[in-house]
Symmetry: C2
Subunit: 520 residues, 2 copies
């Protein structure tokens, strides 16, 4: 049933896109030619493009790895300068990667767009990568799940297949857009197609660490960040494989929660039944935070959340419902959420356990009562339910369960005074942001992406993931997302990968935006 | 108040011991001389004794480490043969350590005692050891907690202080008794004191892995295991520092429980609120197993448990109540158990979380929905509540929470069919055992230990920890425990250690048993 409804929705979108395409054809006769030109350039230069990408992916890029994160920034600076950008490395904090800022003017352009991506990646657990290593990029004939085999990177032109995958940390999240937009510029130039807009690129080095210094860095260089639109390229496209434009992001705050037991691990035979077990205490505490459907039971958690308006509800209804496909892909018999669809649920705040650790398990298990138990949580935030509000609600909930809440390890005196002690800390965090879908710039970008991708994009009011776009929204910039990575790219996990066809189509889309984005 | 009651109890014990001592003096004029002789021998040979011990402790001894566990067995064989034992290495399973069996006859002895200890140790997490490594034994001036400093092993006679500690895996659990009884024999011989009993030693290499092959090995060589008493030397002495004799052990079964989420970890932004989180599911499942007091809520868990009789209750009442000391030592404000004392609670079955793991935490945390969550549990067992009964009750409880329970990873078809799937497996496990305290041999051993240790031992009907003594009880042997290690030896944990004074007193106690244990 949902698929039928979906088909109708798609047809509607296709008709609109068709009309838009006709309208634009009158304004700009080169629309279709841009895609063709970028494709031809790419086909002729595949080996060179992938070589530049592989070199970038080979540099380890965990935000806290000072030496390597700096090497990433310098490499990107060189990539930009080769293309004539004026580049500045805006410092953030000692030992941290700079914000790489690049500027490229287009004579006669009326508008300026800012293009955001990040060059840092999630921490890696090398042992969990199958067959390859996170920073030694490798090519496979398909995803590992579908039996993709390792093959050498080819040298001949036009030899890459769309379903091939490049395995490496950040291949999808988020170095793909960096190579994508730079090659789009190369392709336009090679074909003597002028850019319709001035371009500023902003490549951040701390996004996966919750962007602790982006706001201060932007504030310190406000004069650089002027323009008419910010495009964020972070995130994956729709699970259906169709392109995606999104008009907002959830915010995020990460929390670390530790519950304490005896000062040292104790023998479970000699002290079991008597010494409190922190793993059991943590389990009981976490269990108190959600019901069986996954609904958060923390008092006040859903307070102040702005309900979806008619425009957002309509956009969601028209978007593909991929839930059945996703259930099959991920091996899930029944989702959380009490019957709501994924797209509906992504418009609500969430509480998620990222990880949990206590004592030892499996072959390393020891029959002990652990000394502490830790969980890492993340909360995704929506409009009007900001990081501090949700953190305060969580901390109040933990207190209500009888815990003495502190932000450090307890002293011995505290251990002897309080039966239940929880260390609860949080990172910087940031709020959600959302741009109106009916602005002229929003409409123009939708047209450009539909044309660049050669099919109507899925349009969503809010993406589930988080990028700190509130920083740019606060400068008065409309913020709209145009990602290119495949949804099954294992971002944030071992075996991250980018589908080659997504990179190719991404270049065409970005080429069309650069060459054809115009509005009044 | 409890301490007053305790003093009365001790006085009673002391009077009994006094009468016994008088009675034994008539039979054997050398009673006190044994202790003096062993002490003098030890003082003169400290460097040589510690050197032999350190060599043994230097051999890694995780049961699954085939090469090293075999080196342990060969080393112990040589130690026994040097002292004139007839030795057999009884094979257990490929890649596993043999049961080292040694026999030493005493001309004219009426009784034969069997002496059990184990030479394998718990797995090690080297990074959590402070300042030293598990298999590089080191000497400290006190425990780490009390500021003990690393010092070299001295060479001069009579130079070790009682409070010094030897840090190494298995220094307490359970290589201490092996060196303890062998040096006791050396000391008796050097002083020309004859042994009153024939001795058989049984040193196992798989105890910390739940002794999966001990029963079959003993069954296959029943003729070797004849005798009149089995002394198990595993475990620590009383927390008060007084010696301990125990007449039974809890049994144990270890369980591994895994709950499944999506096939791969998923981005918590894009799928949070929708994809079930296995860490949350595991937390909810574990939380359902105990109430806030730590009482197990699994139906049938306490069924068939034989309540304590008057003799056991009396023994417990007379034993020191160390709970206040333990709370202070371990930094616990309030214990589990709803007001019962530790000694009472150790006579009940227990369910304990050894460890818990899912996703990544702390600096390694990634904002993902993990693909699975695992807990390792152990259940300690008492008389008539055996491993299969308690495992079945646990599995039934998990089913009652809506889980499809299997003993392997689920297939894709199962993942798509069952909303909640738990993989639940268990090890071999074994039941509890208990010897009557009023047998003549029990009475004789209590006398010998009180004399050898120079103070009345604490007598307990049941020890909280587990050793597979049911195997010997099934052969008709009375089984009684005489451990020597300090209670704060961090057994099963990083920074395991043995207090030197405990080793010295253990040698004297074992010397007195060997030279003076007689009964009708």
């Amino acid at each position: 049933m949902k698929h039928k409804a979906l088909s109708v929705g798609l047809a509607t979108v296709a008709i609109c896109a068709g009309s838009a395409r006709a309208a634009r054809a009158a304004e700009n006769s080169g629309a279709k030619n841009v895609v063709v030109a970028v494709r031809a350039y790419r086909a002729a230069h595949e080996a060179q493009i992938i070589d530049e990408f592989v070199k970038l992916l080979s540099i380890p890029n965990v935000a806290s790895d000072a030496a390597n994160i700096s090497r990433n920034a310098e490499t990107i600076r060189a990539m930009l300068e080769r293309r004539g950008f004026r580049v500045e490395l805006l410092p953030t904090a000692p030992g941290r990667g700079p914000v790489v800022f690049g500027e490229l003017d287009s004579p006669g352009a009326k508008h300026t767009i800012l293009f955001y991506a990040h060059y840092d990646g999630q921490p890696v657990d090398t042992e969990k990568w199958i067959g390859t290593k996170p920073f030694v990029p490798a090519l496979r004939t398909d995803s590992i799940d579908r039996g993709g085999k390792l093959i050498p990177f080819p040298n001949a032109p036009d030899s890459y297949k769309d379903d091939w995958r490049i395995y490496a940390r950040s291949s999808g999240d988020d170095k793909a857009p960096i190579i994508g937009i730079l090659v789009a510029i190369d392709a336009l130039r090679a074909n003597h197609i002028p850019m319709a807009v001035n371009l500023k690129v902003i490549f951040e080095g701390e996004e996966e660490d919750s962007s602790p210094h982006l706001e201060a860095t932007v504030d310190a260089h406000k004069n650089l960040f002027t323009g008419d639109l910010l495009i964020t390229a972070d995130g994956p496209i729709d699970q259906s494989g169709r392109p995606l434009i999104f008009f907002g992001n959830r915010g995020v705050i990460s929390v670390r929660l530790t519950v304490f037991g005896p000062l040292h691990p104790l023998h479970s035979g000699h002290y079991g039944n008597w010494a409190p077990n922190p793993a059991m205490r943590l389990a009981q505490l976490l269990a108190s935070m959600k019901d069986a459907d996954g609904r958060v039971t923390i008092a006040g958690f859903y307070d102040n959340v702005v309900p979806l308006g008619p425009a957002e509800r309509k956009a969601i209804a028209e978007a593909p419902n991929n839930d059945a496909l996703l259930l099959r892909t991920f091996g899930i018999a029944a989702p959380d959420g009490g019957g709501k669809s994924l797209l509906e649920l992504l418009n609500e705040p969430s509480l998620n356990i990222d990880g949990m650790e206590s004592g030892w398990t499996g072959a390393q298990a020891k029959t002990i009562i652990p000394d502490e138990a830790t969980a890492s949580l993340d909360m995704r935030l929506v409009k009007n339910a900001g990081p501090q509000q949700e953190f305060d609600a969580l901390a109040a909930h933990i207190r209500k369960q009888g815990y003495y809440v502190i932000d450090r390890e307890p002293t011995m005196a505290e251990r002897l005074k309080y039966a239940r002690i929880a260390e609860v800390t949080h990172d910087h965090g940031y709020p959600s942001t959302r741009t109106a879908m009916d602005l002229p710039v929003s409409q123009a970008l939708m047209r450009a992406v539909d044309e660049g991708a050669g099919e109507p994009a899925v349009k969503l009011p809010l993406l589930g993931g988080s990028v700190p776009m509130y920083i740019f929204a606060d400068l008065g910039l409309p913020v709209i997302g145009v990602p290119i990575a495949n949804f099954d790219d294992n971002q944030h996990s071992p075996n991250e990968n980018l589908r080659v066809g997504n990179l190719w189509k991404g270049m065409e889309t970005y080429g069309e935006i650069l060459a054809g984005l115009e509005w009044k």
